[in-house]
Structures are given as C-alpha cells and as structure tokens.
C-alpha cells in the first residue's frame, strides 16, 4: 500500500507515494528521475547507491524511505550546491572540488561506482579537510571500484583537499599533470 512521504532532496521539498519501506534508492531513481544514486548490489555492500543524509553517507539501497523523512538528502546532482551552503560559498560552483579533481585526474573508467566514490570522498573532505593517505584508505574502503581506479580516486581526493585549502576551488589543470599515480 502506498504511503505518502514528504522528503527534502537536494534542498527541494518533494512528495512521493511509495510502498512502506521502499528503499530510498528506488524513489530517487524512479520517482525523482535522478541519475546519481544507482543500483549495484541492493545489499549495502558496494556503495554505488550512496547519498548524503544530513551530511552523512548512507546506502540508499538499504535505507527505507521513511527513515529520511525530516532529514536532508543530497545526491550527486545536488552536491555542488550542498558544498556551497556548507562552505558558505556564493555563488555555488558548478562542481564540487572533488568532481573537478576527478576530471583533472581522468580518474573514471566505466564510472558506475563514481556516484558513491564522490559522495563518500566529499563526506570525508567535510569531516577531515586534509586527510592523510591512511585516512583516505580507511574512509573509502567500503566503496568498490571494479575497474581498479582506486589510485586515481586517491589522487583526486588529495588534489581536491589541496584545492579546498586554497580557497575552495580546484585548480584547473591539464591531464598531463595527472599521469603518475
């Protein structure tokens, strides 16, 4: 039986009708038409479906929609604006510095896991603006990348941390700088 849920997704109020306990992922993908969070396992094991809930990374494939009522949900699409709000930057940049860094590093291959990699990396950078390599490895350990791009995600997080430290914008850079990972 469908219940009505009033949600806040990417700073917008949204009302959806869904069966009780429908995982948030299916609402975001199918009712709200978002492309960021996506299905990878449905078991909370891989991180492809990650979103931020009040700034905390959660696996939307195993999070009941009812559990996020009254909370603020941010997907990959809403990440730059959420970053701007948190960092008190105006106007909001087109991309989060980690997204800029992922492009500069030419990090992605198939890119399917990158929703979760970026969401988790952004969560880490909010909490720990200058993470050590060990802190990055620990924070990101629950996010699988089967193409094997971990070294470039690592480099991108480090690059983004530097960019944030240097006033919240990722330096535009040439791919030539990104070859040795």
């Amino acid at each position: 039986m469908a219940d009505e849920f009033k949600l806040e997704v990417n700073a917008e109020a949204r009302t959806v009708a869904a069966a009780a306990n429908t995982p948030l992922l299916y609402v975001l993908m199918n009712d709200l038409g978002l492309l960021g969070p996506r299905f990878g396992c449905g078991l909370g094991q891989c991180g492809a479906c990650s979103v931020l809930v009040d700034g905390v990374e959660m696996r939307s494939c195993i999070t009941p929609t009812s559990a996020v009522v009254g909370k603020s949900v941010t997907t990959l699409e809403g990440l730059p604006a959420y970053y701007a709000t948190r960092m008190k930057i105006s106007p909001a940049p087109e991309l989060h510095p980690l997204q800029e860094a992922m492009i500069a590093e030419q990090a992605a291959q198939c890119g399917y896991c990158y929703n979760g990699q970026i969401i988790k990396g952004a969560e880490l950078l909010f909490r720990t603006p200058k993470p050590s390599e060990a802190e990055i490895r620990s924070a990101m350990n629950g996010h699988i990348c089967r193409c094997g791009t971990y070294p470039r995600i690592m480099a991108a997080i480090q690059r983004a941390a530097q960019a944030i430290a240097a006033n919240g914008t990722a330096a535009s850079s040439e791919t030539e700088q990104a070859v040795n990972v």
């Binding site: 995982p23 299905f39 990878g40 078991l43 094991q45 997204q99 291959q109 929703n115």
Partner: protein, 794 residues
C-alpha cells in the same frame, strides 16, 4: 561520450520503433534502388533505420559529414569504460583534418552501425584501422570535390578544421559541408579485413593512403575523455537509466548459484503464486523454465522476486567443489591437443644443469561487474528493440531472434553502457530474458539482474591446472620447456542460461551459441605458444589436456582469457630457473629473450622501479612483516603466433607479507606496456592503472566458491575483490611506437601483474606459492610447509 542519443530516451514507444529522424545517416540506399547516378554529394536520404550491418566497403557506412561541418562516425565499437570511442574519434579527426570536437559518435545500433565486436581490447586496433581506412577514403572524395570546386589540383589543397583551401589562400576555400554536407559520399572502397585478429593484405591497389604518421597532430596525444566529465557530473546515462513509456520493471527468479553445467539445468517443479499475493500489481511471467516477475514499481518487482516461492528440481551433486576441482581435472578423461612440439624436450631436460618441475593452479574467477547487467526490451507483434550492454550487438541479435520466433532483421539491438564487463558477463542472459518477458507481457520490460544473479550465473573465467617442466644449462640459457595444461574443451564456451531455460538447449548460433567457435585449434580458452615464445627455447612442447565442460561451471572469456593463470605458472617457473641458475630474474630474462620490444617493456618497468639486480629470495628476513619484489611478463594470447597484433607488457610489483596473519598487500605496481601506436597515451595509462589493480585483485582475492551442487560465492562478501584500503600505488609506463600497428591495450598488463605478485611472494619469503589467489589461509599453509621450495612440486 558526446553521443547524439539522449533524445531517444524520451520518445514515445511506437515512435521509437518506426522513427525516421532520430539518426540521420547519409546512406544512398533509395538512390541506389532507383538506379540513379551515384554522385558524391547527392542529397542524403533521411532513411528509416535499416537492419544492418551496412556494406563494409562503402564510405557512407562509416562516416557522414553534416551541414554544420561536423562529422559522425558510425562505428560498431562501444564504450566499455576504456575510452575506445575517444580514440576512434581521434583517428577520424586526424585523417579528415577536423578538430576532435567536430567528430561525434552515435549509439551503437544494429540498424545504424557498422559491424564490429568490442572484444579482446581490439576496439582501437581493428576498429581504429577500419575507421582510419574509411576516413582516408572520405578525405580523398572531399579533396576531389574541392579540386573541381576550387579549380585547383588536389596537391595544391590544404585542410584545417574541415575547410579546404588552395595553399593558404583563405579566399579560395570551401568547407566539407559545402562539398557533401548531409549528402552521400557514394564511394566504394576496399575495407581492411581480418582473420583471427591478423590484418589481411588488401587486393585493390587504389585505396586512399592514410596520413603519414610523422604528420599526426591529434593521434598520439592525450585528448581527455569526454565521457569522464559526464560520469563525474552524474549526467551520463547508463543502460540502467533507460526508461520507455509503458515500461514495466522486471526481475528474474533463478536458483541461488548455478549448478553443474550441462547437467543441472534449472527445472521448475512448482510456483506458489500465493506467496506474493500481498504485493499488489505484480505479474508472474513464465516461459518454460524461465520465470520472472514484472511490476509498475521496481521495488514491487524486487521484493516479489525475493518472495516468490519457486520449487526447483534439486541440482545433482555433480560438481567437484572448488577444493576438489584440480584433482577432478587431473583424473578426467581428456581430449588432448598438441599445440607445439619442437625438438626433444625429454633429451634436453636430461642434459640440463637444473630442472624445475612444478604444478600450478588458477581458479575460476568472475567478471564481477560493478553493476549487475540490465536490459530494456520492447517486443511488439513483429519487431523487437533491445537496449543492452552487449560487446557484440550483432551476435546478440542472432541469439535473441530464435527466442522470439522472429527473423534476425526484425530484431534491433542498441548498446548502452553498463558498468565494467571484462568480457562475457551476463549481458547476453539479461538481453535474452528481457526480450522474452516483454514478448510475454506485450509491454516494454526493463530487466535488472540482482547481485546474486550476476555473480552466481556468470560465465566465469576458466580455471587452469598446469604441469610445467623446464631446464637451464650452466649459462642460464633455457634448454627445454614443457607446458601441460588442463583446460575446458570448446573454443568459446558460453552456454547462455536463458536460451537453455526457454528452448531447452543452447542456441545454435549467436553470442552464447554452441556454434561460435574460437579461433585456433584449441580455441580461445586454451594455452598457446604465443603466450611463451618470447623465451627462445630450442625444445618445446605445449599440450592442452581438454576436459569436457559438463559437470563444471559455465565459462567464457574474462579479460585476457587464460593469460593470468598461464603467466602465473610460466613466470613462476622462469623465476625458479633463474634462482636455480643463481641469476637475477631480470638478467635471466635478458639472457633468454632477444625480441627488442619484449626487452623494451622489461627495461621500462625495471627502470621505473629502480630495479637492483640480485638473486630472488636472497634477503629473506625473519621479521613478522617481510617485503619482496617480483617481475612478470604478460601478453594476450593470439591464435597465430607473433602476428602483427602482439602487445607486450611487463610489471614489477613490490609486496608486503605478514607472516602472522598471512595477509599479502601489494604496495606498488610498475606496469609497462607496448601496444604499438598508442592512439591516446593517457587512455592507455588509465588502462595500465586499472589492470594493475584488477591484476592485484585476481592474484590476492578473487576465487569462485562452489560446493558439489552449486556456486556459493554470490555477493561481495562471499566473492572477495580488492578494496580501496588495500590497493597498490601504480606507475604506468606507455612505450610508444608511432610506426607500429596499434594492438590491444586492455588486457596484457593483467597477467604480468599476477605473475609478478607470485614472484614477489617467493622473493619475500623464500617459499613458492603455486596456487592463487594468495589468500591468508594458503599463505599460512605454505609458510608452514617445506614442500614449496623451488624445484619440488607444490
């Protein structure tokens, strides 16, 4: 990727199937039908999509020039996440003297694209060569037209960004669009053709000559991949995002984990429809032994598939189990195939200074797609549209058609990227099942496999049991090598599960069909001389002891098929020979290899790693945590030995072994690859990074688990993969050869890394582990054993 395809996603269903305007293809079909003169630049026919593939010897099949002075290439080679289409755009833009941004690709589609299977990392090799040949021919047509228009000799003309000028006189110029915009080339040419990956000489002497490579301005440069920006922004549409009006969400119901191939066919005994009666609006879809559910809302389909009680006939206890697998191989009746037998191996071994004789084991491993496969099918009474992630859409179409009872021409297959596939993951299965379910319900169906479906019903990379014997003389020269491989019989052995469920047998043809044989006598999934002929060995014997597939698991090509397991064994024995001869492993290889390109990648990898010569395991420490470093070579085996398409790879890997816990961590991989002309070195570096991590995962983590009845590793907990926390740093090195043919760039570092990790383990511990993955339990068992010293079988 900048594809002109997003409009397709919002079209009405019926319009979708009969649309004429979505893709403008400058074919001249109607003109030809009416017998009109074939004039280049004649108005294009805005055709209905036509069942392909189009004539491979027509320029119009590959390239169109548009009124806005841009070009579209209609390649059959798809984006697998490896950047191949970016390289194809570079090639076309180079030959046509267009800017990269002026060249676009379109959705790969059986009714639009040229034939082409994106297999064996050859997108940039075969696909690139064909694109180059077609683009060179197109340029010749354009220059001939410009010569007439500008009243100047072709030799006087220059081209920049699609504007043809007489010399540098900008007043005497004409654009490609003015010459042929939205029109046809109407030019026949002889396209390059291949036999087993080897380019055949062309018969026609008058083909357009491609640009001199010394004049390249775009090929060989680091053009950023356009698709990466979209993927990072979250605007890229995967097959999982495709939606059609009126579409239902579907899931299949399968036994949890496949049973013995060709013995344990899933057979439905009963379906308890009342088991899902509390979920409204769900419909059970069944044809023969294929059962699934469809619903308007995806979550209803997900929970219905989990909840539906299907009684299956029990699987026979016909599998050997992963622990008993290799004993089962060895005791099986085999159909033997001698790949190579030169000289006298036994006599040479009898005279050798040192002889190594050992047995190696490599497991079944999964493609392990990041996203379980997905397909959207719209089957009407007389036509079918299937959107899926097949690496070979024309083969998929051949396999789908008999399931629907349609002629092949009525089935249209389009490629939409999923996640990584690395070969024959379940994209065939999901496309076939979506088509059958759509036909059953008369509406479009989006079928998403579950994680358990994908890992439990994969066409696994085959296991390999290897017995090797090899000898060196007193100077460290190899005198004999014998490789006996226990491999599965059958060239290209994918048994499509859905065809089995629906038809009761695998299809006769198509992807997954029994009729698709691999090239070469032993087929793609066997051991070949081309995997070991970098070593100059006068006496050599390679035998494939082929074990029938029935009673094992479904198998199919997995990235660098058979190469990781073969090179793990071969390179382990080479290192043991070096150790026996008291030689540094790099020095040993230099003594036994003279091919300059093999030596080139070895030098590149060892230089990057600052290799210090020493005998392996000569500094074994008694510490709890020890370090080691190893070398490995790798290539992708070819049916013909050392053809023009060999890619050369070498890796040096530094590892750390914790002798208390048995945990092995790869700290740094130095991977070097020579793939001839690297169209886009940045893309190739990206591949080396990925293969280095993937190879580490294969060597240390991945192994399909199964008992006597079925596969049991069906999620990311039971099927282990390398995690972020354990990944190595990677230094990629591209050895560029401007004047060599491009060969594949997506496979060869993988076996080199697996082999180097095995050798690094020996260097760290003085113990040789001859079975991978090097799991903690295997490591602890090996370190407690004395049976693993070099020269003795493990």
């Amino acid at each position: 990727m900048s594809e002109r395809n997003d409009d397709r996603l919002v079209l009405g269903r019926r319009d979708f199937l009969k649309t004429t305007g979505v893709v403008v293809v400058a074919f001249s079909i109607a003109a030809k039908v009416r017998g009109q003169a074939r004039v280049a630049g004649a108005p294009a026919v805005q055709r209905r999509p036509v069942s392909g593939p189009p004539d491979p010897n027509e320029v119009d099949s590959y390239i169109a020039i548009h009124a806005d002075n841009t070009a579209t290439i209609y390649s059959g080679y798809v984006e697998l996440g490896q950047g191949g289409p970016t390289a194809l755009r570079q090639i076309a833009a180079e030959e046509l003297d267009l800017d990269f941004e002026q060249v676009k690709t379109v959705t790969v589609d059986t009714h639009v694209s040229t034939d082409g299977s994106t297999l064996a990392g050859w997108g940039g090799a075969i696909g690139g060569t064909k694109t180059r040949a077609a683009a060179a021919e197109a340029r010749r047509v354009l220059l001939e037209l410009a010569s007439q228009r500008l009243d100047a000799a072709v030799s006087e003309l220059t081209v920049a960004n699609g504007v043809v000028s007489v010399g540098r006189d900008t007043r005497r110029s004409v654009t490609y669009a003015d010459l042929v915009g939205d029109g046809s080339f109407n030019r026949k040419f002889e396209q390059v053709s291949y036999n087993g990956g080897i380019e055949l000489p062309r018969k026609n002497p008058d083909n357009a000559i491609p640009k001199r490579r010394d004049d390249y301005r775009l090929v060989g440069t680091r053009v950023p991949r356009p698709d990466i920006s979209e993927k990072v922004r979250g605007t890229y549409r995967y097959v999982q995002h495709v939606r059609l009006p009126g579409m239902l969400h579907g899931r299949v119901v399968l036994p949890r984990g496949q049973g013995a191939h060709a013995i344990s066919h899933p057979t439905i005994v009963a379906i308890d429809e009342s088991s899902i009666k509390d979920i409204p609006g769900v419909r059970i879809v069944r044809r023969k032994n294929l059962v699934g559910v469809v619903a308007e809302r995806e979550w209803d389909a997900v929970r219905a598939a989990r909840q539906l009680k299907v009684s299956w006939a029990p699987f026979a206890a016909a599998l050997p189990g992963h622990e008993g697998l290799f004993d089962s191989f060895r005791s099986a009746k085999t159909n033997d195939l001698i790949d190579t037998d030169t000289g006298d191996v036994d006599a040479a071994l009898g005279r050798a200074a040192h002889v190594i004789s050992s047995t190696y084991r490599g497991p079944y491993q999964s493609h392990g797609t990041m996203a379980p496969n997905c397909a959207v099918a719209d089957v009407t009474t007389d036509a079918a549209l299937i959107m899926c992630s097949s690496q070979a859409i024309f083969l998929t179409r051949i396999g789908v058609a008999p399931l629907l009872g349609f002629p092949v021409e009525k089935v249209r297959v389009q490629y939409y990227a999923g996640s990584n596939t690395f070969g024959a993951s379940c994209y065939t299965e999901v496309a076939n099942a979506a088509a059958v379910m759509s036909q059953e319900v008369g509406r479009p169906v989006r079928l998403q496999l579950s994680r358990e479906d994908e890992l439990g019903w994969d066409n696994y990379g085959p296991a390999l049991l290897s017995d090797l014997r090899a000898g060196v003389d007193a100077n460290g020269k190899i005198v004999a090598l014998e490789y006996r491989a226990w491999v599965h019989e059958g060239g290209f052995f994918i048994a499509d599960t859905v065809s089995q469920l629906v038809l009761g047998s695998p299809p006769a043809a198509g992807f997954g069909g029994a009729g698709v044989a691999g090239p070469g006598g032993g087929g793609l999934l066997s051991v070949h001389l081309s995997q070991m002929d970098m070593y100059e060995v006068p006496n050599r014997r390679i035998v494939n002891h082929r074990v029938a597939g029935a009673g094992y698991l479904k198998t199919g090509p997995l990235r660098a098929p058979m190469d990781p397991s073969t090179f793990f064994a071969l390179e382990g024995v080479m290192d043991d020979l070096a150790h026996a001869a008291k030689l540094d492993p790099y020095e040993f290889r230099k003594r036994n290899i003279s091919h300059t390109r093999w030596l080139g990648v070895l030098k590149a990898a060892t230089d990057a790693a600052k290799w210090t010569p020493r005998i392996a395991a000569s500094k074994v420490s008694s510490d709890k945590v020890v370090t080691g470093r190893g070398i490995g070579l790798g290539t992708h085996h070819l049916p013909q030995n050392q053809g023009s398409r060999v890619t050369y790879a070498a890796a040096v890997v530094d590892i750390e072994v914790n002798k208390d816990t048995g945990v092995v961590v790869a700290k740094h991989v130095y991977g070097a690859m020579d793939c001839g002309l690297a169209i886009n070195p940045a893309v190739v570096e990206s591949q080396i990074v990925g293969m280095s991590v993937h190879g580490t995962s294969l060597a240390l983590r991945e192994e399909v688990q199964f008992n006597e009845t079925n596969v049991t590793s069906i999620d990311w907990s039971s099927y282990q993969t390398l995690r972020f926390g354990d990944h190595p740093a990677v230094t990629p090195i591209v050895v560029q050869h401007l004047h060599e043919p491009s060969s594949g760039a997506g496979e060869e570092v993988l076996p080199a890394v697996v082999a180097a990790i095995g050798n690094a383990f020996f260097d760290a511990t003085g113990v040789r582990l001859r079975q991978y993955p090097l799991t903690p339990s295997r490591v602890l068992a090996a370190l407690g054993s004395t049976a693993n010293v070099p020269g003795r079988p493990a």
